[in-house]
Subunit: 231 residues, 2 copies
DNA sequence: GCCGCTATTGTACGGTCGTTCAACAACGGC
DNA sequence: GCCGTTGTTGAACGACCGTACAATAGCGGC
């Protein structure tokens, strides 16, 4: 159960580097005060980095504070307890994912097919398609059942994701207008969105657990084939 | 981080009940020796039970030994260390899943369609469809990247599962015989098996994370629809 | 240049962790 | 009934855990 102590934040923050432009030898500043918002962001980033590197074992106050280049006590100054820090990290992680996908869709041509293709391509390429990222999700999922804050975040953000998928499918499959046709279409749409989400998640999971078995473009093709089959 | 101490094994083992038929008061036996194989099995069962109940937090020597109704020292008498116990539990868990599915398939009528239906029905009903079970998988997945023993087990048993799906799809889609047709069919089969596996896993995951969103029979229908679309 | 606010430090505390090991006791063989 | 084998116990160890808190020090306002 031993972890290599995280050497001061490689990439995520200012770390323990005694800052300041002048190289004065004796009396250099020992730390740099930051605005709460900045520090909180840095701590959240450090938390995610630790999860990526060490999985569940990385989720300790000492590991995270070392990664952030900060003392153990600081975390409890900015967050009431560890659970809240983790929940904040989960919220950030989720938001980054969904916003990344939305941006990819926005950058695509305006046809529904192109938008879906862009969405799938983004789903199955870095930074999302990364075995480290699985380790992060897995830890969050594992806490889901026993942590209220995590449940709250899950409900908030997952709805966003489903809405995005739902909306793209609606565009693609077109809208019938007759009330009766609309009702059936609705049911179909709901199930279709669930199915597509499941297929994406499942393929993504398979790739992360055993990258050799499946190429990203094959995953995209499978998803497009599924959507094709809907019409 | 506090756990309610597991009260002596409710269902999995003989627990701490001082055994023996006679109710002699003073000098009752304080424990019962068991064959190594039996004890190992009981410890594995206790490990899985703890994972179901407490998730990752249940994965401690003290929690597990309490669940098994046994002292802390005993685990290291039967397993060299915790990792090996967990890997053994993972192997057992995987084997139970795959064998349960195989049996369900074997009980079904002999037509390929009925076999697939039985397979899907078993996948989306207890004991597999259970949020507690997700908690177990999630812990194992989380260890996958850093634990050699877990990786070994994963490689061994996941292959079994994929082979089962692959074989059922092959039966259903029928075998073309021309060498060229066969080759294309092979490629399709590989991808189809991966896709179906992903769809099942993804739907299963969605159900576990938010049971209200999806009914089991809808999940089965989605999978059957996917297979239907293949021909 | 000094002051006040507060972000930050680092030690301390009580607790749980995985593993070790000497002592103990169940039980089959005689 | 005693003995030897060995499954089992439970205390002990050192390491790490999350949190609390008094002391420290960066830095903007004056």
């Amino acid at each position: 159960m031993k972890l290599p102590r995280a050497r001061g934040a490689a990439s995520s923050g200012p770390a323990r580097t005694p800052p300041g432009p002048q190289g004065g030898e004796g009396a250099r500043r020992r730390f740099e005060r930051q605005l709460p918002a900045q520090r909180r962001a840095a701590l959240i980033a450090a938390t995610i980095e630790c999860l990526k590197r060490y999985g569940h074992d990385g989720l300790s106050i000492r590991t995270i504070s070392a990664q952030a280049g900060v003392s153990v006590g600081l975390i409890n100054h900015h967050f009431p307890n560890k659970d809240e820090l983790v929940a904040a990290a989960y919220r950030h992680f989720n938001r980054e994912l969904v916003e990344g996908l939305k941006e990819a869709v926005a950058r695509a041509e305006k046809t529904p097919a192109a938008r879906l293709r862009a969405f799938l391509a983004a789903s199955f390429s870095p930074p999302n398609l990364d075995a480290d990222v699985l380790a992060v999700w897995v830890v969050f999922w594992g806490m889901y059942r026993h942590s209220r804050p995590i449940q709250r975040v899950q409900r908030d953000t997952y709805a966003d994701y489903v809405r995005l998928v739902h909306e793209m499918l609606a565009d693609l499959l077109g809208g019938a207008v007759g009330t009766r046709a609309r009702r059936t279409r609705r049911v179909d749409l709901r199930l279709a969105a669930i199915g597509l989400t499941a297929l994406i998640d499942g393929l993504w999971l398979e790739w992360c657990l055993e990258p050799g078995r499946l190429r990203p473009r094959e995953a995209v093709a499978l998803c497009e084939g599924w959507v094709e089959g809907l019409r």
